[in-house]
Symmetry: C2
Subunit: 296 residues, 2 copies
C-alpha cells in the first residue's frame, strides 16, 4: 500500500498558522526519512488566495531528492503548471470538483471548464515528462449542494479519463462518506477509467475516515492519502478535524498485515514536532494511546 503524504499541502493549507519554508522542508524530510515515497509537497495556486502555499518554489528547491521519492504539486490552471514544471515537481495533481456550486466557489470555474483545463494541463504536463493525477473532490458530498450522485462522479471520471491521467483519486473533501459509498464509487471509477490507478483521499471529519480508508484497501485501492498527525481541517466546519492521520492509518494497516514501508514511530515523532510548530495538540490518536503491542 502506497501512502501519499498530503500534510505539507492539504494539512498545512487548512491551518491558520503560516509555517516557514524551512519547517515545511523539515516536515517533508521527516516524512521521507520515515519511509514515505510520495509527498504532495506544494500547490501552485494563487498566492494571494492561499498564502500558506506562496513559497512552493522555495520548498521544492530544498526538498531532499532521494531515489524513488516523488513530489506532487497541486495545479488548477496552466499558469500553475508552468510554475510546477519550473519548480521541478515529479507529478501534478489537478482537482476537479464533483459539485457545480463548490467548483465555482472553490475554483471560480464550473465543472465543464475545469475538465477542459485539466485536458490542457494533462497534455502539457505529459510533454514536460510529469506524471498526472486527477482528484475528484467532494465526490461523497458537497457543503453547498448536499448529496452528490455516484452517476455524476462516474461521468466526471469518464471525461477526466479521456485525457489519460496516470491516476484518478476520489476525495471525501468534507468527510461525509461511509464504507458502502466507497465501494460504489470505486466500482464506478473502475468502469469509467479502467486504465488509471485508483487513489482515495479521506477526512475524518465525522469519524468515518478510517473505516472508509480500510474499505478502499479491501476494494483493492493502490494509494491512500494521509497527513502526519491528522493536522488540517475543513473550511466548511471550522471545529472539525482534517485528513486521516498517517500514523493512525499505518497502525491499522500494520496490524492488518498490509505493508506500507513507513515507520510508525518516526511519523509519531514528526507529528509531535509539528504540533509544537503549530502550537496545537496532535489530532491523531496513536501518539496518545501508544503503539500496540508495545516493545516488551
Amino acid at each position: 500500500m502506497e501512502i501519499l503524504e498530503v500534510g505539507p499541502r492539504d494539512g498545512l493549507q487548512n491551518e491558520s498558522a503560516i509555517v516557514s519554508t524551512p519547517d515545511k522542508v523539515r516536515l517533508i524530510t521527516r516524512a521521507v526519512q520515515a519511509g514515505v515515497r510520495r509527498v504532495e509537497a506544494v500547490s501552485f495556486v494563487n498566492p494571494r488566495l492561499v498564502p500558506q502555499m506562496a513559497d512552493a518554489a522555495e520548498v521544492m528547491e530544498r526538498v531532499p531528492r532521494v531515489e524513488g521519492v516523488a513530489y506532487a504539486g497541486l495545479v488548477l490552471n496552466r499558469r500553475g503548471l508552468e510554475r510546477a514544471v519550473a519548480a521541478g515537481v515529479d507529478e501534478v495533481n489537478v482537482v476537479v470538483v464533483a459539485s457545480e456550486t463548490f467548483s465555482r466557489r472553490n475554483q471560480n470555474c464550473g465543472i465543464d471548464d475545469m475538465l477542459d483545463t485539466w485536458g490542457a494541463i494533462a497534455a502539457d504536463a505529459r510533454s514536460a515528462g510529469l506524471r498526472t493525477t486527477v482528484t475528484i473532490a467532494a465526490a461523497f458530498g458537497c457543503p453547498f449542494e448536499g448529496e452528490v450522485a455516484p452517476d455524476r462522479v462516474e461521468e466526471i471520471a469518464r471525461r477526466a479519463a479521456a485525457h489519460g491521467p496516470d491516476e484518478i483519486a476520489l476525495a471525501d473533501t468534507i468527510g461525509v462518506g461511509t464504507p458502502d459509498r466507497v465501494e460504489v464509487l470505486l466500482d464506478a471509477l473502475t468502469r469509467a477509467a479502467p486504465g488509471a490507478r485508483r487513489r482515495c483521499h479521506f477526512h475524518n471529519t465525522r469519524n468515518t475516515g478510517y473505516a472508509n480508508a480500510l474499505a478502499a484497501v479491501a476494494a483493492g485501492v493502490d494509494t491512500l492519502d494521509a497527513s502526519v498527525g491528522g493536522f488540517g481541517g475543513c473550511p466548511f466546519a471550522p471545529a472539525a478535524t482534517g485528513n486521516i492521520a498517517t500514523e493512525d492509518l499505518i497502525y491499522a494497516l500494520d496490524r492488518m498485515g498490509v505493508p506500507t514501508g513507513v515507520d510508525l514511530a518516526s511519523i509519531i515523532d514528526a507529528a509531535n514536532w509539528l504540533a509544537v510548530r503549530l502550537d496545537k495538540p496532535v489530532p491523531a490518536l496513536l501518539g496518545r494511546a501508544g503503539i500496540f503491542p508495545g516493545t516488551p
Copy 2:
C-alpha cells in the same frame, strides 16, 4: 441495529469527575427519550473500588420505566447479582477477561474461576427472570500480555456458552482491534456459541473503533455498544479516548441505511449537556462537524 448505550456505566466509570445520581438519571432519560431501548445503566461492583458506581441502586430506583426499554447492570460475583436483582435491572452482564493477567488484575480472579462464577450467576439470574449476557473483555489484545489468540477467545466463548447466555459480546477493551480481526473473532464466536446473540463493544483508542463497528455490522452483528459523546477513556492509556460515540456511530449507520431508531440530534444534545457536567469537551466529532446533509 440495536444500540446498547453504555455511557452511564463504561463511559462514566472512566471519568474522574463523580457524576451525581440525578445527573446519571438525566443522562439515561435523555438516551431513552432519544430512542435508545437498551442501556447499561449501572454496575454492582465493589463501591470502594469503583466509587462512580456506588449509587447503582439509587440510579435504578429513578430511571424511567418505559415499555420496551431494558436496563442492564454489570456484575462480577453473586453478591453483585443479589444487588442487581434487588435493584430491578432487566439483565445482567458478566465480564470474563480473555487474558489471565488482566483478569487477575482487573477482577482479582483467574479466567477459570471467573467462568465458574459466571455459571453460578447465570443459573441464579435465570431463576430471577433476568436476561444474561457475557462480555469477553480484552478479546482483541491485553495491556499486560499483548496479543490475545483468537483460539483462546473461542475457547472462552465455548465455555461461557455452556451456561446458556442470551448473548455473548466481544469487547476491544483497550482499542487495538482492526476489521479483519473483528471478522475472525465473530466467526469464532458463532462456532463456539451458535445459540447466543452476538454483540460487539469497541473503543476508538487508536482510531479503528468505527471501522471495527461497521465491520461487525457487515458480519451480521445484532447489537453494538456505544457511549453518548464518546466520553470515558482507558485506564491503561490515560490520554486516550473512550468508547465509540453513540452519535458518530448512528450517523454512519443512518447514512448507510441501517436503522437504529435513535434520534441523532437528541444524542448530540445529550453529549453537549454531559460535557458541561464533566467540564470537558465532547470527544465525538459529529457535534463539531454538523450532521450531513443538513436540513435545507
